[in-house]
C-alpha cells in the first residue's frame, strides 16, 4: 500500500520556490512514485476510512503552477486506482479469501505488473528528459480505463468469494458489453478467477469427489447422512440431501446445468459406494468442447453407468418381479401355503404372536412353493404392524408434505383417530397386522427405498386381508354347501338356505374385488412400469416411475380414499362375523344332525 514514511525527514522545499520547469520535473517524479503507490515529496496520500481497507486518495501540495496543477490532478485518480488494485491484490492472497479470490488476485497482480512496466518506461523517458507532464498524461491514457475498472473490481470484491465473486465479475462484464476493451479485461479476470472453480467442478463431475478447502464451491457435502437410512426411514433424506447445490451458482453453470452437475457427481458417488474404485470416469482432459457439452457427456456417462449398475449388478428387474410376486401376490402359492401352516398363529391377538415362528414358517413356505426358484427370496422377511391399515395410512399422510400429488385427497377430518387406542391393539389379529418386509441392498435401495417398501406393504396388507376374508368365506361356503344339501330335507332349510345365499353374495363381491385389484389395478400398471423401466435413462427417473407405479396402484386400489376403505373394512368385518357365526352354527347343527361333520 501507500506506506507512509516513518523516517523523519526535513520538510521539502515548497514547490513555489522552484521555477515552472523545475516544478514540472519534480511533480513528474513524484507522480511516477505515486503511480506505484508510493508517496513522494509533493504528492502525498491519505487514507479515508482508516485501517487497511480504506480508500486511498492522493493530493498535490500547494504552490504548483495552476495549469500544471490541473494536469497533474487529472492523473491523481489513476494513482488512487492503482493503489486500490494493488492493495486488493496483496490482501486477497491470504488464505481466507478462497481459491477464487486467490486466482483473481494473481491475475490482478499480473495486470499491475504491466502497469509498473509502463511506469518504468515513462521513467526512462523522464531520465532522457523527454517527458513532460502533458506527455505523461498522454501515455497513461490507454491504461486509465483499465485501471479504473480494476479499482472498481477491487473495491467491490472484498467480502465476496466463490460463486458470488464470479457472478459479480460476470455482471460487470455484461454491463460493459459495448466497451470491448473493458469487457475483454473483465473476461480475462473472470477466466482466471473461474479456473479453480472449474477445476473443482471437473473433479466432481469426473470423479465424484468434493474437494473444497475454503468452502466455496458448487457442491455441499453432508457427511453425516448415511445411506443405510434409505432402507430404514420412510422419509430418508440421504439421496436428496447428502449432496446439495450451494445457494449461489455461477452464471456459467446457470439453467439446469448446475443441477446436472450435481446429479452427475451424485451418480458417481453412488457408483463408487457400490463398486469400490470403479466410480471414476476415464474422461480425461482431452475432452474438447464447451463446458456444457462436457458436463452433458459426463452426465450421460454417469447416469448410464449407475443405471447399468442398478439394473444389472443390482438385478433390479428380478427384484421388482419378486416384489410383485410377494407383495402384490403375483404368484400367490407361497401365501396359500403360508396361511395353511401359519393360520393358527395369525388368528391370535397381535401381541401373542411370535414373529420368529412366523418367520420360520414363511421361510418354509417360500422354500416349498414356486418362490424357491427366486434368487432373492432370502431377502424377504415378515413383520407385524402395530396399527390397522387405515391408521397407518393416516399417519403416513400426516408425515407426507402436501406437495406430492398423491396426498391431495381430503380426509374426513377425523385426525383424532390417528393415535391407536390399546383397545384397537387388542382387537387386531395377526391377519390384520401381518406384513412382509424386504431388505433391498445398495444400490437397489435407491429405488426400493423405505418409502417404496412402505407402499408395497400397504398394498400387501390390503390385498392380504381381502384374500384372507375370501378364504374364510370359501370355507364357510364349503360348510354351507355340505350342510345345505344335507339340510334340504329338514325343517330349518329356509334359514340355512338364506345363509347359503348370503355366503354366495359375499363371496361374489369379494372375489370380484380381489379380481379387480389383481387384474385391473396391478397388472396394467405393472405393464406400464415395465415399459417405462426399459425407457428410463437414469436412476432418478427409474425411482420416479416406480413411485408413480406404486401411487397409481394405491390410488386405484382405493387406498387413498378412506371413506371407501372404511366401508370396505366394514364389509369385510361383516363377512368375517358371518363366517364366525356360520362356523359356530354349523358346529352346533352339525353336532345334532350328523355325528361327525368332517
Amino acid at each position: 500500500g501507500a506506506g507512509g514514511s516513518s523516517v523523519a525527514r526535513d520538510a521539502p522545499k515548497p514547490l513555489g520556490e522552484y521555477d515552472t520547469a523545475c516544478q514540472e520535473l519534480l511533480v513528474i517524479d513524484d507522480l511516477l512514485y505515486a503511480m506505484m503507490g508510493v508517496e513522494g515529496r509533493y504528492v502525498t496520500a491519505s487514507r479515508s476510512g482508516g485501517g487497511a481497507g480504506g480508500v486511498v486518495t492522493f493530493h498535490i501540495s500547494e504552490g504548483l503552477e495552476p495549469s500544471l496543477r490541473a494536469l497533474a490532478k487529472e492523473a491523481l485518480p489513476l494513482c488512487a486506482a492503482a493503489a486500490t488494485a494493488s492493495d486488493y491484490a496483496e490482501r486477497a492472497r491470504r488464505f481466507e479469501s478462497g481459491l477464487v479470490g486467490h486466482a483473481l488476485a494473481a491475475e490482478m497482480s499480473e495486470l499491475l505488473h504491466d502497469w509498473h512496466t509502463m511506469i518504468v518506461q515513462l521513467e526512462h523517458q523522464k531520465n532522457l528528459g523527454r517527458l513532460s507532464l502533458q506527455a505523461l498524461w498522454f501515455y497513461v491514457q490507454p491504461a486509465a480505463p483499465a485501471l479504473a475498472l480494476l479499482a472498481r473490481v477491487a473495491a467491490s470484491a472484498p467480502g465476496l468469494r466463490g460463486a458470488p465473486l464470479l457472478n459479480h465479475l460476470h455482471r460487470e462484464a455484461r454491463a460493459r458489453a459495448g466497451d470491448v476493451a473493458a469487457r475483454d479485461l473483465l473476461l480475462r479476470l473472470l477466466r482466471a478467477a473461474a479456473a479453480p472453480y472449474a477445476k473443482a467442478v471437473e473433479r466432481w463431475v469426473y470423479e465424484g469427489r468434493v474437494e473444497d478447502p475454503y468452502d466455496e464451491f458448487l457442491i455441499v457435502e453432508r457427511a453425516d447422512l448415511d445411506k443405510a437410512s434409505l432402507s430404514e426411514e420412510y422419509d430418508s433424506r440421504y439421496w436428496s440431501a447428502r449432496y446439495t447445490l450451494r445457494e449461489d451458482v455461477p452464471v456459467f453453470l446457470g439453467g439446469d446445468l448446475a443441477e446436472k452437475v450435481l446429479t452427475t457427481g451424485k451418480y458417481l458417488t453412488a457408483l463408487r459406494e457400490s463398486t469400490d474404485g470403479l466410480g471414476r470416469i476415464a474422461l480425461g482432459a482431452d475432452a474438447r468442447g464447451t463446458h456444457a457439452t462436457r458436463i452433458n457427456a459426463a452426465f450421460k456417462h454417469a447416469s448410464n453407468a449407475l443405471l447399468r449398475n442398478v439394473l444389472i449388478e443390482g438385478d433390479l428387474r428380478a427384484r421388482l418381479l419378486s416384489m410383485k410376486r410377494y407383495f402384490l401376490l403375483d404368484k400367490g402359492d407361497f401365501l396359500v401355503h403360508f396361511v395353511d401352516i401359519a393360520g393358527e398363529q395369525l388368528s391370535k391377538r397381535a401381541p401373542d404372536i411370535s414373529v420368529d415362528k412366523l418367520q420360520s414358517l414363511l421361510e418354509l413356505s417360500l422354500k416349498l412353493s414356486s418362490a424357491s426358484s427366486d434368487p432373492h427370496n432370502e431377502d424377504l422377511t415378515c413383520a407385524l404392524e402395530r396399527q390397522g391399515i387405515i391408521h397407518q395410512l393416516l399417519s403416513i399422510q400426516s408425515l407426507r408434505d402436501d406437495g406430492t400429488g398423491a396426498g391431495g385427497v381430503a380426509y374426513d377430518g377425523d385426525e383424532a383417530h390417528v393415535a391407536m387406542t390399546p383397545k384397537e391393539a387388542l382387537r387386531l389379529t395377526g391377519f390384520e397386522t401381518f406384513t412382509l418386509d424386504y431388505e433391498a441392498p445398495w444400490p437397489v435401495s435407491l429405488v426400493l427405498s423405505r418409502r417404496a417398501l412402505t407402499k408395497y406393504q400397504l398394498l400387501f396388507r390390503h390385498m392380504f386381508h381381502c384374500k384372507h376374508v375370501e378364504r374364510r368365506l370359501c370355507a364357510t361356503w364349503q360348510t354351507w354347501q355340505s350342510s345345505a344339501t344335507r339340510a334340504t330335507a329338514t325343517a330349518d332349510a329356509g334359514s340355512l338356505g338364506r345363509a347359503y345365499i348370503l355366503s354366495q353374495r359375499m363371496l361374489h363381491f369379494l372375489q370380484n374385488f380381489v379380481y379387480y385389484l389383481a387384474c385391473e389395478v396391478v397388472e396394467p400398471n405393472w405393464h406400464r412400469l415395465e415399459a417405462k423401466i426399459a425407457e428410463a435413462s437414469n436412476v432418478d427417473e427409474l425411482a420416479a416411475e416406480h413411485d408413480a407405479f406404486l401411487d397409481a396402484c394405491m390410488k386405484e386400489g382405493m387406498l387413498f380414499w378412506p371413506t371407501i376403505l372404511r366401508r370396505l373394512e366394514k364389509i369385510k368385518s361383516a363377512c368375517l362375523r358371518f363366517a364366525d357365526a356360520s362356523a359356530r352354527c354349523v358346529l352346533y347343527t352339525g353336532s345334532h344332525t350328523t355325528p361327525s361333520p368332517w
Partner: protein, 710 residues
C-alpha cells in the same frame, strides 16, 4: 540548470540501488542498514534521496529481510550458500536429492542440529537453495546493470534506442516484484516446516499448495516434487524390494526390529499417520504397507524367493505410468496395483500350495471342532475310563497312546501324516481337587512357522475354548447315551414283566418310568443344543469362512476372515464375553445331567439287581416245581424280591429323582430365560427348536411368549 537541480536531489539513487541489491543478499550497504530493533532494513536519515525513493527502497528491502529469514531457517551456514552460488548448481533446476551436491554436504557438515532433518528435509532444502540460486542469478544480472552509470546509459540510449540498460529504484521494483512474492512464499514454507520432517513436512507443504494463484501453486509443486522424491524412492524401495531404510523415521511405514519373526506380520510394521503425506490416501498407505510386509513375510517367514522374479515388472509398472513422483498419482496407483496383484498371488500360492493352509484349517475344524465324528466317538470310548479318574492320576503319556489307537481305529487314519503328527494331547492344569480327567483333557493342533501367523496363540486359545465346550457337550451326550444303554427299554420291560412285586416294586417301576422321561427330556435338550452348535454355528461359519478364504486376496483379509470365523463361532456357541451368564447356566445344566447319570446308574443297578434276584427266585421255584417239590418256600419272596426294595429305599430314590428333576427344570428355566437376552446372536431358532411343541411353554418353563419382543 533545472535538470541539475532535480537531479541533485536524486544524487543518492545509484548508491541506493546498489545498497538495495546488497540488502537483497542480506548485506548492509552504505545507506541501508539492517535494524534488528525494527526487524527491517532502514534508510539512513542522511541519505541524499527523495522521500519517495526512500519509501520504495524500504519496500524493496523486504526481500532482504525475507532472504535473511529463509537463510536463518535453512541453517544459516554460509557453506551451502557459497556452494550453491557456484554456476554449476545454480543452473540445475531440478535438485538432485540422490547425488549429494556440495550444498547438502555442506549442510551435513555445517550444523549438527540439521542432521535430524532427514532426507526429505534435505531434499526440500536443496530445492529451496535451487530457488534461491535463481534469485542469486537475478541479483547478479541486476548488479551488472547497476554498474552502468545512468548518464552513460542515457547517452547511449539517446544515440540509438537500444542502449545499455541501467537501474533505478522503480526499475528494481518491477524486477523484484515476482521474486518478492516467491521469496515470501518460501519464507512461509520454510518457517512452517521448520520443526517437521519426512511425511509431516510434505503435509505442511501440501497444505500450502491449495492456493488459487497458479504461479504460487507451481512453485509449491516444484518444491513438493523435489521434497517428495525421497518419499517416493522409499515407497518404491519398500514395494519392490521390501527394504526399509529410514534412519530418521520419515517414511510412513514404520518397523519395529524388536518384534520376533513369528510376529512379523502382525506387529513388526505399521503405518505412522503423522508421517503420511496427505496426497497419499490411507488406502494407498495400507496397500503399500501390506505389499512390503508381504515381501518380508515371504522372504523371512516362508523362505520363499519367488518374489525376485516379480520385481522387474512391478518396477516397470510405475515407470510406464510416468514414474513415481508428486503430481503423478497414477504412477503410484499403477505401482500399488501391480505389486499387490503379484505379491498376493505369490503369497496365496505359497500359503495354500506349499504350506497347505486350507488343509490345516480343515484339519483343525475336524479335530478340534469335532468335525471328524467317528474319531471322537472312538476316542471317547477308548479314553472314557481313564478320563473318569481324578485329574491328577491321568497320564498324558498314556492318553497319547489312546489318541494313537483312536486314530488308527477311525477314518482319521487315512488322513495325511503331516496333519496327524500335529495332533497332540494336552492336559490343562487342574483347577480343583475334584476335577476328573474329562475336565482337563484337550486336544491340541501344533502349527509351525508361517502358519502361526494365522493360527496365533490367541486363535489357538479360542479353538481350545470351543473344543473344551464341545468336548463337554459331547461327554454329556455320551453319558446320556450310556444311561440309555443301561436303562434300555427292555430293562424296564423286564422289570415290568418280571414284576418287582409288592407296593415297593410298583413304586420303583413308576420311578424308573419317570427317570426315563427325564432322560428323554435331557437328551432332547442336549441333542438340540448339539445340533445347533454343530450345524448352525460350526457348519454355517465354516461355510462363510471357506467362501471368504477363497475370495481373500491377501493375507490380511485371510487373517481377518479367520478371526471373524473364530469370533463368530465363539459368540454363536455362547462362549463370548456377552454370554457369560448363559455359559455358566449351561455348565451347571451339564453338571445336573452328569449327576443324573450317576443317580440313574445307581437306580438301575438296584432295579436290575432286584429283577435278577427275582428271576433267580423264580428259576429256583420252577426248578423245585420240576423236582415236584414246593415251588415257593415261605419267606423266600421277601428275601429274593422285596427284601432289598424297601419302601424307604424307593422313597429315597423318589426324593433324589425329584431333586434332580427340579434342579434340571430350574436350570433349564434359567437357561431358556437367558436365551432371548442374547440379542447379539440369532438364537431364535434354537429357542424355537427346544420348545417346538410348546411343551415348556405350557409348563411355564422358559420365557412366556408375551414377554418376547416382537
Amino acid at each position: 540548470l533545472a535538470r541539475e537541480a532535480t537531479l541533485s536531489a536524486e544524487v543518492g539513487e545509484p548508491e541506493l540501488v546498489r545498497d538495495v541489491l546488497f540488502a537483497c543478499q542480506g548485506i548492509d550497504g552504505k545507506f541501508l542498514k539492517f535494524d534488528p530493533a525494527e526487524g527491517a532494513y532502514v534508510v539512513r536519515a542522511d541519505a541524499p534521496v527523495s522521500p519517495g525513493a526512500a519509501v520504495l527502497a524500504r519496500k524493496l528491502t523486504e526481500l532482504g529481510w525475507l532472504f535473511r529469514k529463509i537463510r536463518a531457517c535453512l541453517g544459516g551456514d554460509d557453506a551451502d550458500v557459497v556452494a550453491t552460488t557456484t554456476p554449476a548448481s545454480a543452473d540445475s533446476d531440478v535438485a538432485p536429492p540422490a547425488t549429494p551436491s556440495l550444498g547438502t554436504l555442506g549442510a551435513l557438515g555445517g550444523d549438527r542440529g540439521e542432521l535430524d532433518g532427514g532426507s526429505v528435509r534435505r531434499a526440500f532444502k536443496a530445492r529451496v537453495q535451487g530457488e534461491l540460486s535463481d534469485y542469486y542469478r537475478l541479483i547478479a544480472v541486476l548488479e551488472a546493470q547497476a554498474q552502468v552509470p545512468m548518464a552513460a546509459a542515457l547517452e547511449s540510449a539517446r544515440d540509438d534506442s537500444s542502449g545499455e540498460t541501467y537501474l533505478t529504484l522503480r526499475r528494481l521494483s518491477v524486477w523484484l516484484a515476482e521474486p518478492t512474492r516467491r521469496l515470501r512464499l518460501l519464507a512461509v514454507l520454510v518457517d512452517a516446516s521448520r520443526f517437521n520432517k519426512g511425511g509431516a513436512l510434505l503435509g505442511v507443504l501440501h497444505a500450502h499448495a491449495k492456493h488459487g494463484d497458479p504461479a504460487l501453486c507451481a512453485t509449491v509443486a516444484r518444491l513438493l516434487s523435489a521434497a517428495a522424491a525421497p518419499m517416493y524412492a522409499a515407497i518404491q524401495n519398500w514395494v519392490v524390494l521390501g527394504e526399509l531404510d529410514d534412519p530418521r523415521s520419515e517414511f510412513f511405514v514404520t518397523s519395529d526390529p524388536a518384534v520376533a519373526e513369528e510376529d512379523l506380520w502382525r506387529h513388526r510394521y505399521g503405518v505412522d499417520d503423522a508421517m503420511l503425506p496427505p496426497f497419499i490416501t490411507r488406502e494407498q498407505a495400507a496397500d503399500v504397507l501390506r505389499v512390503g510386509k508381504s515381501i518380508n513375510f515371504l522372504r523371512r517367514c516362508c523362505d520363499d524367493d519367488g518374489w525376485t522374479a516379480e520385481r522387474a515388472p512391478v518396477a516397470a509398472a510405475a515407470a510406464n505410468a510416468g514414474g513415481l513422483g508428486y503430481g503423478n498419482p497414477k504412477a503410484l496407483d499403477a505401482l500399488i496395483a501391480e505389486a499387490k496383484r503379484r505379491i498376493d498371488r505369490c503369497l496365496r500360492r505359497v500359503l495354500f500350495e506349499r504350506y497347505k493352509l486350507f488343509e490345516h484349517c480343515f484339519a483343525v475344524k475336524r479335530y478340534l471342532l469335532l468335525g471328524q465324528g467317528d474319531f471322537h466317538a472312538c476316542l471317547m470310548d477308548l479314553a472314557g475310563e481313564d478320563l473318569a479318574e481324578p485329574a491328577s492320576n491321568v497320564s498324558a503319556y498314556k492318553l497319547s497312546g489312546t489318541l494313537e489307537s483312536a486314530i488308527r481305529a477311525s477314518n482319521a487314519q487315512y488322513d495325511e501324516s503331516d496333519v496327524l503328527d500335529r495332533l497332540r494331547v494336552k492336559m490343562m492344569p487342574a483347577a480343583g481337587a475334584d476335577e476328573v480327567g474329562w475336565d482337563v483333557f484337550s486336544l491340541e493342533y501344533q502349527t509351525s512357522a508361517p502358519l502361526t501367523t494365522v493360527f496365533t496363540p490367541d486363535a489357538m486359545g479360542k479353538y481350545l475354548r470351543v473344543f473344551t465346550f464341545l468336548w463337554r457337550l459331547k461327554r454329556v451326550e455320551h453319558a446320556l447315551c450310556a444311561t440309555w444303554q443301561t436303562m434300555k427299554p427292555n430293562v424296564t420291560a423286564a422289570l415290568a414283566r418280571d414284576g418287582v412285586a409288592g407296593a415297593a416294586g410298583v413304586a420303583l417301576a413308576e420311578e424308573l418310568r419317570r427317570c426315563h422321561t427325564l432322560r428323554g427330556e435331557m437328551h432332547h435338550f442336549i441333542a438340540n443344543l448339539q445340533y445347533y452348535v454343530m450345524f448352525e454355528v460350526l457348519e454355517g461359519s465354516w461355510e462363510v469362512f471357506t467362501r471368504e478364504m477363497r475370495d481373500a486376496r491377501d493375507l490380511d483379509s485371510l487373517i481377518a476372515a479367520h478371526e471373524r470365523y473364530l469370533d463368530a463361532v465363539l459368540q454363536k456357541a455362547l462362549l463370548g464375553p456377552k454370554s457369560q451368564l448363559l455359559a455358566h447356566a449351561l455348565s451347571t445344566l451339564f453338571e445336573v445331567v452328569l449327576r443324573f447319570r450317576g443317580f440313574a446308574d445307581r437306580l438301575y443297578d438296584v432295579a436290575r439287581d432286584a429283577a435278577m434276584r427275582r428271576q433267580l427266585a423264580r428259576l429256583r421255584v420252577e426248578q423245585r416245581a420240576e423236582q415236584a417239590t414246593w415251588g415257593s418256600l415261605p419267606g423266600e419272596d421277601a428275601a429274593g424280591g422285596d427284601g432289598l426294595l424297601s419302601e424307604a429305599f424307593v422313597s429315597e430314590m423318589r426324593e433324589q429323582l425329584d431333586a434332580v428333576g427340579a434342579d434340571y427344570a430350574k436350570m433349564l428355566d434359567g437357561f431358556l430365560n437367558l436365551l432371548p437376552l442374547q440379542t447379539h446372536v440369532d438364537l431364535k431358532f434354537l429357542l424355537f427348536r427346544l420348545d417346538f411343541s410348546e411343551y415348556y411353554c405350557k409348563q411355564k418353563i422358559g420365557p412366556s411368549p408375551g414377554s418376547l419382543p416382537f
